[in-house]
């Protein structure tokens, strides 16, 4: 009897063990009750991702757990330590076009080429489709891609947008006697707007921008202004190695002089504000104008700045320049990637597919007020709302009027935007150096970049 009991107990234990092993298996055969984890570096995305995840669970039974790690240095160290302990999540949201390449080249990401073929990539805005792909140009510039195969797809575009969008507070414009529905057409007119709002309120009527992150002045205002004034070819020449065409040239100094005209209108302490702090200052009414990107709308909204109180327009072009109606090409800002260590690859790819499809992208965009890289076409206004759809109108125009921040072809191979930001900051708002000296300093910085490669 005892012996028989032992046999029965052993069989029961074996059955239970097999059943448990079946439940916790690593294969992708059954994904309907899977749980996948996702990390992002953008806190503003978490609630929207969770909202999309809820719909995704209803449809597939797959649970997605989203975690945000901010700021960027924390996210970086989190990935570094998780990579060491092989404790990465299934899905990562990364900066597109650089960070995803480095992480992928480092062996942490799986190739999505087979999951997102050419036909499926057609769902994305044209200028963003190849953002996550290893190309010859990227391979030459990014050390981590030395052993990567050209054509590998490390990420798919998730959010898209551009920099150089000016947000104006309609109430402050009205208080200054300006038409709150009419954006300035030229740089000079923009300066008169700033003059009007600062005249009404010297302390809280100016322009805010997170200049503590020094490259913002260069990337978000100066480049657009210089591109519009000089046109694409002369603008690109500023960054080249040809003597007499750099920032100390007549072209360079003229565009630096245009930028320096902002000096009287920065809000007090702009140079000590981070990007988020500058946006918060604007949302709190401490400035009349704020420069950001398409992604800024989400943050302003989360800080109680209603979209209907905002007038948005690209950095206005200066009179007498090559471009009179500046357009801004959208670039992939963030991408979605599946980690090499993921045990839920199939479920993770399904999540990516949902999130970048019309329905998922619509849910995410509407909830986050951040533009998706998914081309929503005529459904855009219905899916993402009129405020966000309105930002998309800056994306279309003739190629010669289109500033493309993603075009790195004319910059030094190891281009570091922080290094070009500092000289500009010293010129405006700090007023330590004149435009000519700033041009010479920028040429020196760029020469060092060309030399160091």
């Amino acid at each position: 009897m005892t012996g028989r009991r032992r046999v029965v107990a052993a069989l029961a234990a074996a059955t239970l063990g097999l059943a448990a092993a079946g439940c916790g298996g690593d294969d992708d055969s059954g994904t309907s009750d899977a749980t996948i984890s996702m990390w992002t570096f953008k806190r503003t995305h978490v609630a929207a991702l969770e909202q999309a995840a809820a719909t995704f669970k209803e449809k597939t039974g797959i649970t997605v757990k989203v975690e945000a790690f901010t700021p960027d240095d924390v996210f970086t160290s989190k990935i570094q330590s998780a990579a060491q302990t092989r404790d990465l999540p299934d899905v990562l949201e990364l900066h597109a076009g650089g960070e995803d390449m480095r992480v992928g080249g480092g062996g942490l990401l799986t190739d999505l080429k087979g999951d997102f073929d050419e036909a499926k990539l057609q769902r994305f805005l044209p200028s963003t489709r190849e953002a996550g792909r290893v190309t010859d140009e990227r391979k030459a510039k990014i050390e981590e891609l030395a052993n990567a195969t050209v054509g590998t797809l490390y990420s798919v575009p998730f959010t898209a947008g551009t920099f150089g969008i000016v947000y104006a507070n309609k109430d402050k414009m009205a208080a200054a006697g300006l038409d709150p529905d009419t954006p300035p057409k030229t740089w000079e007119e923009f300066l008169t707007y700033l003059q009007a709002t600062t005249k009404v309120d010297a302390k809280q009527g100016g322009l805010s921008l997170g200049l503590k992150v020094t490259q913002t002045g260069f990337n978000w205002v100066y480049e657009q202004l210089a591109f519009a004034y000089l046109g694409a070819d002369r603008f690109k020449a500023l960054f080249g190695q040809q003597a007499g065409q750099g920032f100390a040239s007549a072209d360079g100094i003229k565009t630096l002089e245009l930028y320096s005209q902002l000096k009287p209108y920065w809000i007090p302490g702009a140079s000590a504000l981070g990007i988020d702090e500058a946006d918060v200052a604007f949302a709190q009414g401490k400035s009349a104008f704020n420069v950001g990107g398409t992604f800024t709308m989400a943050f302003l909204s989360q800080n109680d700045m209603k979209p209907e109180k905002l007038l948005t327009f690209p950095v206005p072009p200066a009179t007498g320049g090559k471009v009179s109606d500046l357009r801004l090409a959208p670039l992939a800002l963030t991408g979605l990637a599946v980690t090499e260590t993921s045990k839920q690859r199939e479920a993770s790819v399904k999540w990516l597919d949902f999130l970048t499809g019309a329905e998922g992208a619509g849910i995410f965009a509407k909830a986050s007020l951040d533009l998706p890289a998914t081309d929503l076409g005529s459904q855009a206004e219905t899916l993402i709302g009129k405020d966000l759809a309105a930002l998309q109108k800056f994306f279309t125009g003739p190629p010669e009027s289109m500033y493309d921040a993603a075009d790195k072809s004319f910059r030094p191979p190891d281009y570091d935007e922080v290094e070009v930001g500092n000289p500009l900051l010293k010129m405006s708002p700090l007023g330590e150096v004149a435009p000519a000296a700033t041009g010479a300093e920028l040429d020196k910085v760029l020469a060092a970049m060309w030399q160091s490669k």
Binding site: I79, Q84, G106, E143, A270, A272, L425, L430
Partner: protein
Amino acid sequence: MTAYLTETPPAAARPKAAVKRRARRKTRQWLVGYAFIAPAVVLFLVMGLYTLGYSVTLSFAKWNGFSPSWDWVGLKNYHDLLYADPRLAPEVQRAALNTGVAMVAVSAGTVLIALPLAVLLNSIRRLRGLLRSVYFLPYVTTGIAVYYAWRYVLEPDGAINLALRSIGLGSLARPQGFLGDPDTALPALIVVMIWGSVPVAMLLYLAGLQAIDPSLMEAAAMDGAGTVRRVRHITWPLLVPITVAIVLLSLRDTMQGFQIFLIMTNGGPAGHTEVLGLKAYQQAFMQSMSPTLGVASALGWLIFVAALLLAVLNARLLRGTR
């Protein structure tokens, strides 16, 4: 003789047995002692030596923190930091200059404030304990939250500008705020660092003052020496060793610390408050996952060498004062 022989062994055995017992006891005591320090030693060997070795090795490589292999570059990281890289070397030199300025200013400021404060506290009887606690508060509270509070105090509409304007000293107010103005950003951070380091220095001075034989002071007073002369000719010479220790602590803290710079200015405006510690952190974690951990590690070791030289200097100074 026989009797002698039969009686002597127990007498001789007793000391031998006692020696053996003592030896066993001593061995046991050593073992217990070693057992007590063993966890710390093991921890140091595992955590300390391992990380030190790892860090030294990393300083000769290029790595981003997650790639499967390191790219060995020999002394290149050190060369780049010191002179070879036309982008990095000037930044490191500027950061070294700012670090040097901050080290001297914080050390001098700490001594200049803490010593008089300790002398004053030592000379009063009432409320000494309360005041000591009050003066110690900055040390207890200093940290990230306090740095944020200081940012509010130093911003364009902050308390300092407000106070200056309200007492008719508006010309001294900084319209860009003290952290946004290149002329005041580093001095403002130095003031905050002094504010954080004075409490410990003051306590050390107070302890030193209370250890001075009162009869020395009484004799000097009877000889007609005033307070200033007593402080200058008796108190100060006796406190020199403590001063050397305080200066060394301040130098070390300022050289290696970077949190205050990271939180309050992130090296800005336009690099005016960049210091070596912050530069190392930025190289490690703020380069969009570029393979710069080796450079950061090399910079950390350069800072370590500088700190070591300071420690040697301090040891010599201390010996000279004895």
